[in-house]
């Protein structure tokens, strides 16, 4: 019996191998090069997880692409993401806070989207404040996930009992109304402030400073925070006097974090508070807050020097990694993902933006959605109407201390502010320390 010679390649085998090789080159090979079939690696913090998951499923169904979705707690998110970026872990799209944009951009961890028309076209529908918050050194780095601002809210029942008919329009009025509330048997500390060391503290303080007509830095990024007449010293002085002179804010405010403040405000223990607007939904939900239905937004009170109400706004956005952008296939998938989540989905609607508002309360950056009847019904139900929120949103200013060294400066600022609130330092001394740190870091 003759056995076939296995050491020799037959013509048939050669043809088979060539065909197979060609197939690999045209399918798998290209896939490997351009990543068309590769999953989209999406990283976020642990917020709105159910809504995001459902939209991920919708994206997978609509596009046939797979998504690797992972999320980390907010408190550890920045560190987790940075270590993954440094370690070249597979990441295509990630949620980014506006506070990290300069350091991420300088480190080369975010890709610009200026040359991605599929995403840039959504700027036409976006609030200007949101778009500006995603721009660093003239280049845009993402598409909005949500945009929000700090709101001044009041408890209608407590004001009514004290015989107050309209909420305060100035910080001086906040003091007067708070004293009146105390005298009429209302809460011991009518004004609630979350001044504990928390990631939200910079937004609280920025809102107060902007409401006093102030800024931390000038247009060139130089520190003006130590100038007595530029808002910072005045805003911090107001808080110190509110705690120690007027006693309308609890001295325990230095250990009150944003989430604890929400519980207290929701329990009806205070008349006034500053909260992120998206919290209004939970605060006015009877299943979550006993004071539901009584908490309404008012325009942020003005400081003596301010000509109009102002507040601090912020944005969280979808960013693309340079690694994803550099590969044509990954880039195409990432762009489709960002458009589906931060722009319109395949139905041509801003589906997720609307869902995030109605389900979680997260305000959107997409101006055309404001006219949507469901959106208007949402604000009517949870905030007594959307007019005040829209007016305040128009006055929102992004944090002017956002810089590559923001995180390190913020550590100094947190301790300096708290020293004033504890009456251990003067507002001027704290502001001077903050300014010195800023100058040192700016170099």
């Amino acid at each position: 019996m003759a056995f076939p010679d296995r050491s020799r390649i037959s013509r048939r085998s050669l043809l088979k191998a060539s065909a197979a090789g060609g197939l690999v080159a045209t399918t798998g090979g290209i896939s490997a090069t351009f990543g068309q079939g590769a999953p989209v690696n999406f990283t976020s913090w642990s917020a709105a997880v159910d809504q995001v998951r459902s939209h991920v499923s919708a994206f997978e169904r609509a596009t046939g692409l797979k998504v690797n979705y992972e999320n980390f707690p907010w408190a550890q998110y920045r560190t987790s993401v940075v270590t993954r970026l440094v370690g070249n872990a597979p990441m295509d799209v990630l949620w980014v806070s506006d506070a990290w944009l300069p350091e991420f951009a300088e480190a080369g961890w975010l890709a610009t989207i200026d040359d991605v028309p599929e995403l840039m076209k959504y700027n036409a529908d976006a609030a200007q404040f949101c778009t500006q918050s995603m721009v660093y050194k003239g280049k845009q780095y993402g598409l909005a996930y949500y945009g929000d601002h700090m709101s001044f809210i009041y408890n209608t029942e407590i004001l009514q009992k004290a015989g107050i008919t309209t909420p305060p329009t100035s910080w001086e009025e906040v003091v007067q109304q708070s004293l009146k509330i105390k005298q009429s048997g209302g809460p011991e500390f009518p004004m609630l402030m979350a001044l504990g060391i928390d990631t939200w503290l910079i937004e609280f303080m920025s809102a107060l400073v902007f409401a006093h007509g102030g800024r931390f830095v000038d247009a060139s990024g130089n520190a003006i925070m130590a100038d007595a007449n530029r808002g910072v010293v005045e805003a911090v002085s107001w808080v110190r006097e509110a705690i120690h002179t007027h006693k309308i804010v609890s001295p325990g405010a230095v250990e009150t974090t944003e989430i604890n403040a929400l519980r207290a405000m929701g329990a009806g223990q205070h008349a006034f508070a500053i909260v992120p607007t998206y919290r209004l939904r939970a605060l006015n939900d009877p299943s979550q807050a006993p004071a539901a239905g009584k908490l309404r937004p008012a325009l942020m009170p003005r400081g003596p020097r301010a000509t109009a109400s102002a507040t601090c706004g912020w944005i969280r956005f979808y960013g693309m990694t340079p690694g994803a952008k550099a590969n044509a296939g990954r880039r195409a998938n990432a762009v489709r993902f960002m458009e589906f989540f931060g722009g319109k989905d395949t139905t041509g609607s801003y589906t997720l933006q609307k869902l995030l508002l109605t389900d979680v309360g997260l305000p959107f950056c997409t101006t055309p959605l404001s006219a949507d009847p469901e959106v208007q019904a949402f604000w009517t139900r949870w905030a007594g109407g959307g007019d005040v929120i829209a007016q305040q949103a128009a006055t929102a200013v992004k944090k002017d201390v956002i810089a590559p060294w923001f995180g390190e400066w913020n550590e100094t600022a947190n301790a300096a502010w708290q020293s004033v609130f504890l009456n251990r330092a003067t507002p001027q001394a704290a502001a001077t320390a903050m300014a010195a740190k800023w100058k040192d870091l700016k170099g």
């Binding site: 609890s250 230095v254 390190e408 301790a415």
Partner: protein, 301 residues
């Protein structure tokens, strides 16, 4: 003398020092990888100016990070806070543990149950302990305020953690509550080992209860006390979890300890070089203190 069967087996199997070394080698290698390598690498890291947000640069600075730390006023604030916290925690834990151990060393009904119950705080996870005490101290609805107001010791609710004069002591209290039981059990074990003859002899010599404690119990407890002091110092000087949960280093810089500074520099400012250098300084301080305790107790004995 004739060889035993064990000697013959050892020779046959090559059981000598070299064989023992070979057998220990796998464990030694694992230890090198998981312990020694990180220790050496972290020292190496401390010689570079590594900032994760500036990944394109990694300059060698030698002992520059250490020099910067010593020039940083916040380092000295952290040293002061750490010293106060460690002294308070270790001394009170040790004294309380000694009292509890003396109590449990006596025979009384329910002693076994009490011994088991007293270990419960030690078995509580640190995170749970921190959260529990944070709630107890809360200025708005805390249990501590509630009790003190009800018994008339306070007129109105007061701020505990938010008062910088009290912060470290309130955290120390939470730490003592958790650490004391283990220290008490360690001291109790040492007490059980003291021969009863010594007490009988002292009684015959006319020693009262305090004299018996001073001249018999305390000297015999030296090894146990040394163990407790070294262990508690090592734990307290590096304490981090309670600070993370209860105060985040605040209010102001009232609870800004060395371990908190390491966390801030490493994981918030992402300065791994400085963070590694600070960790090394803390490790050296821990080592020196432990050495001093061991040497101090050893010389007296």
């Amino acid at each position: 003398m004739a060889d035993t069967w064990a000697d013959r087996l050892s020779r046959k199997a090559g059981y000598d020092e070299r064989s023992a070394a070979i057998l220990i080698l796998p464990v030694f290698v694992v230890l090198m990888v998981v312990a020694l390598y990180p220790i050496i690498y972290s020292f190496y890291t401390s010689l570079f100016d590594i900032v994760l947000t500036r990944p394109w640069r990694r300059p060698f600075v030698g002992y520059g990070n250490y020099a910067r730390i010593f020039q940083d006023p916040m380092f000295w604030v952290a040293v002061q806070r750490t010293t106060v916290y460690t002294v308070v925690t270790v001394s009170i834990t040790t004294v309380f543990a000694l009292v509890v151990a003396l109590l449990l060393n006596e025979a009384f009904p329910g002693r076994r149950l009490l011994s088991a119950l007293i270990l419960l705080p030690w078995a509580t996870p640190s995170i749970v302990n921190g959260l529990m005490w944070k709630w107890i101290y809360d200025p708005g609805y805390g249990l501590l305020n509630g009790i003190l107001v009800q018994v008339g010791l306070l007129e109105s609710y007061t701020v505990w953690l938010g008062n910088p004069d009290r912060t470290l002591f309130m955290i120390a209290n939470a730490a003592i509550w958790k650490q004391m039981p283990l220290a008490a059990i360690l001291l109790l074990v040492s007490m059980k080992a003291i021969p009863q003859d010594l007490y009988r002899a002292a009684t015959v010599d006319g020693a009262n209860v305090f004299q018996r404690f001073w001249h018999v119990t305390l000297p015999a407890l030296k090894p146990g006390l040394m163990l407790v002091l070294v262990y508690e110092t090592m734990i307290s000087i590096r304490h981090f979890d309670l600070f993370l949960i209860m105060t985040q280093g605040g209010p102001g810089d009232a609870s800004y300890t060395l371990s908190w500074q390491i966390y801030v520099e490493t994981f918030r400012n992402l300065k791994f070089g400085i963070g590694a250098a600070l960790s090394y300084l803390l490790a050296i301080a821990t080592f020196v203190l432990s050495y001093l305790f061991i040497r101090g107790f050893g010389s007296k004995s």
